[in-house]
Symmetry: C2
Subunit: 196 residues, 2 copies
DNA sequence: CCAAGTATGTTGACACTGTCTAGTTCGCAT
DNA sequence: ATGCGAACTAGACAGTGTCAACATACTTGG
């Protein structure tokens, strides 16, 4: 017991579909996400997912929520592994974790932050997205507050991370090797004034 | 004469399709772009576009190229209208033009810089994209060159612009009014050292 | 412990999509 | 003027999301 695999027919189809979706976009890209392919991957009929995800946007939202969990964890892992506890070192460690997630989960990242339709009102998404946001708040907390307030600092750092990732992934004219993105981000990241 | 509208059957269907595509995504969003809807909007059969755009990705690429032209022009317009010719003022003017384009062409912007598949090898796209890139090179030219070189400066500025736009468009938790994006960008933009 | 009810799954249908193959029509060059 | 090729139409096919009707298995109230 305690094994949730004894649900009604399939056993935790909802989680299986999310996992299948993650694998699918990893193999075929974010646009290839399809209810029918995910259903086939999970070994159920094409209409089975409808009970767990009424529309494709619902499935996409659940996958994005899953991605946010992994995303925040990547940043936290890198922050924890950073020996230098200087605020800037921690901030850069988060950026490194950010880029490592991008490298290892490019399609998932694009699904999360690309323009594809999501259901922002979804509670699961809001909870998981708040975890990434908590990391952002933590790493920007030591920054000296300027005229735009601490929210301005958060927006600036997040913009740099997001924008850099977007260029690495989508701007071929930048000619950036995705593998060296973590180090390159560090080399361009401005020397913001920090408290303490 | 001089009127190009006397092509074979329809008269400049290629340009008509691009224009219809731009209108379509403005009305229904980037994901709603479809060959058949564009064909219907142009008043031709569903297979007519195939002669000008073999696949949907070709059409999308042409629309993105069109977008880059407009995009670069928005930045240039704002730079030209800026009375203060200080390098930072020019840089911020470009950012203002950038955001004005985003505000007025949100769906087109997402098509351009979102993850949707494009044909980067397309010559028309490369030419139009180089115009945006030329603006970037111009506005970052006065920046003091750091360890990452001038390319590092370009990447940083572009990242801030791109990232900020992405947050404005896609991150509902940021709770940013899109209309105030130009001013807000200016308020968070760092005070980078400039030559002269 | 069994019956009813509900959650979960299947099958089939519909409208829509991109793309391919044939045919048709029109304009231009030889 | 005639052929020839570019531009367009019509039809077909596989694949998509979503809906409706039905089947099954678990769960829970009596």
């Amino acid at each position: 017991m305690g094994n949730k695999k004894t649900a009604h027919h399939h056993g935790d189809l909802r989680a299986t579909l999310v996992k299948a979706g993650v694998e699918l976009i990893r193999e075929l890209g974010p646009d290839a996400l399809s209810i029918r392919k995910v259903a086939a991957k999970a070994g159920v009929s094409h209409a089975a997912p409808a009970h767990h995800f009424p529309t494709l946007a619902h499935l996409r939202t659940a996958i994005v929520a899953y991605g946010h969990e992994q995303f925040a964890q990547h940043m936290r892992d890198e922050m924890d592994a950073e020996p230098d506890k200087d605020p800037r070192a921690i901030l850069l460690a988060a950026g490194r974790g950010y880029m490592k997630f991008v490298i290892g989960n490019a399609a998932l990242y694009q699904l999360m932050f690309g323009g594809s339709q999501k259901l922002y009102e979804d509670e699961v998404l809001q909870v998981s997205a708040s975890k990434s946001r908590a990391v952002l708040e933590q790493i920007t907390a030591p920054m000296v507050v300027g005229k735009a307030g601490s929210k301005g600092n958060q927006l600036l750092v997040w913009s740099i991370f997001h924008g850099f990732a977007g260029i690495v992934l989508n701007d071929n004219s930048a000619e950036l090797d995705i593998e060296s993105a973590p180090e390159y981000l560090e080399s361009i990241f401005p020397d913001f004034p920090m408290n303490s």
